[in-house]
Amino acid sequence: MYVAVKGGEQAIESAHAWLAEERRGDLNIAELSIAQIREQLKLAVDRVMAEGSLYDPDLAALAIKQSRGDLIEAIFLIRAYRTTLPRFGASEPVDTGAMACDRRISATFKDLPGGQVLGPTFDYTHRLLDFKLAADGETPDAPSRESVPGDVPHVTEFLNREGLIEEAPHDDTPPPDLTREPLEMPADRALRLQALTRADEGFTLGLAYSTQRGYARNHAFVGELRIGKVAVEMDIPELGFAIEIGEVTLTECETVNQFKGSKTEPPQFTRGYGLVFGQSERKAISMALVDRALRWEELGEDNVGAPAQDTEFVLYHADNIQATGFLEHIKLPHYVDFQSELELVRKLRREAGADQVQEAAE
């Protein structure tokens, strides 16, 4: 039968088998192990953990392998897995002041307590293809030194002591959870930050860049960028106190922005904030800029109509799993709807006499 295309099931199975074969590629080439991906494609793993909202490097590596390196597909796999996990509770807020920093830089001060630590960054590499890596990947050991014990204070704290930056008062209100409650407007800052930390890196980068080019410019300085491990503690009701259940690598960016002030209030710098799983500094900086742009209302600034100021626009379009699903769904058959449009257009053309014109031309 021409019309009723039977065998959809067969087609799907065959497609899946072909996909599995393609994923593996040439059998004469050694297969990638999860450990190899986890160790050698670490930044991809970090991005999948950040946007997948699940801190598990092995699962993220598995997802990258399964998705053939398509990171949005890998993020999707992680999200779909994450949603099936039972919840035992929530951790205590992590203390980034106690972070064991691998990298810590400030653009606002030449030097400061705790020092400027470049860490493992691409920043000053010359972007020249390293053909040695194509031959063999062995690298000499990097020089090391003893870490300096003690907490690394936040740069913004120094400004805060002088009252030069807006206060960020301590707040114990449990944040909303956008994975358990439908997104609702207006969204407070905690909810916005939660959405931004799992937002698509490219989308966030584009929005942040737009603020730099004048679409709600907010004069951002990187007050501090730090990457390192923090302890995760959880309160155990049976014990009556919090215990450490593990540690996670985070990237934190605090921006020092456009000051504000008035006749009654002396000028003060304002803040933008970014915090992301793993080593994801492009994302963390972007997040801080977008966070700051979204704060226009509470800071009494003008809404200049810039995309980065529009909470509803940003939050409803930042999730790449939602976006890619809806975008790609137009691949699905729509022939019933198309048929109804076809009928309508034919009818309108008929009435407009377009058919006659067409026929006359033929």
Partner: protein, 291 residues
């Protein structure tokens, strides 16, 4: 066989309770979109995650489940969703409309009238009928609360002044029980008259947009129109080439390089059943068209 690695019908019980509560409120306020904390499903947003979550929340092991996409049981996404529930809920499945207790659909309402023993679950991409007139959720929510639907009428009337007709052929907006304007999902407007006074329960799930809404049985549903431009449920002015039906919604299939057309029922079960009863359409006179 049910996949033991997951809970019955995939979703955990807490999620099902949340969805079930939303369904009940949806039934209590016909046409109103109830926000719900849609979960990430193991299939992409936009591919029926809303309908799948609603089905998962209502299915029992005793159900017989049917899935259609564009009216057909064997389109790939329908096949995929059907096998998902075969695997996770172990429910019986069918392609026969009359044998199904729960029918999940994308873009069609079956031709055969549904009964009180059936539930129709729609997959909805954009649940907000006002969305294309006003992109902001905060605004459209206000418009619904104030019953401020003037914008919609203006849009429809602009169509008339430009084209002589209301230029909406699918996802044609309806008003429910004289209160909420509702998007019936992208069904062709041919299906709109079936929405009202239906014996079956109709549930609508929009996963990405996190909304559930419902039409209880025998609910008043009116397609928006104007006195001088009444609503018309249209279809191709043809008969089904395969079964000869004159009353069903027809797909148009291009059958040869010369642009030859075959019109046939979009509801594959309806068409198959009619042919099994001996009905034959004009295409059987032309053997090439049905090779």
């Amino acid at each position: 066989m049910t996949d033991q690695a997951y809970n019955f019908a995939y979703l955990d019980e807490q999620t099902k309770r949340m969805i079930r509560r939303a369904i009940l409120k949806g039934l209590a306020i016909p046409g109103y979109q109830v926000p719900f904390a849609s979960r990430e499903m193991p299939m992409p947003y936009g591919w029926g995650t809303g309908g799948v979550q609603v089905s998962a929340a209502i299915l029992t092991p005793d159900d017989t489940f049917k899935v259609i996409d564009q009216g057909a049981d064997d389109t790939t996404n329908a096949v995929s969703i059907r096998s998902f529930f075969e695997r996770t809920a172990g429910v019986a499945t069918t392609t026969a409309t009359s044998a199904a207790s729960v029918i999940q659909t994308r873009h069609r309402i079956p031709e055969e009238p549904l009964t009180e023993d059936q539930i129709l679950v729609y997959q909805v991409p954009i649940p907000e009928p006002l969305r294309f007139l006003e992109p902001r959720e905060s605004e459209t929510r206000k418009m619904h609360s104030l019953e401020e639907y003037g914008l919609m009428h203006v849009k429809l009337y602009e169509d008339i002044s430009r084209h002589g007709h209301i230029a909406t052929s699918y996802a044609y907006p309806v008003k429910v029980e004289e209160r909420y304007v509702m998007d019936p999902s992208p069904i062709p407007k041919f299906d709109n008259p079936k929405l009202g006074d239906m014996a079956a329960i109709q549930l609508f799930g929009a996963g990405r947009e996190q909304r559930i809404y419902a039409l209880p049985p025998y609910t008043q549903v009116v397609s928006l129109d104007f006195e001088d431009h009444p609503f018309e449920a249209t279809k191709a002015d043809q008969v089904c080439g395969l079964c000869g039906a004159t009353d069903s919604y027809l797909d148009e299939v291009i059958v040869d390089d010369a642009g030859g057309r075959l019109f046939c029922c979009s509801d594959t079960d309806y068409c198959t059943a009619r042919r099994a009863q001996g009905h034959q359409g004009p295409a059987f006179l032309d053997s090439e068209a049905v090779a």
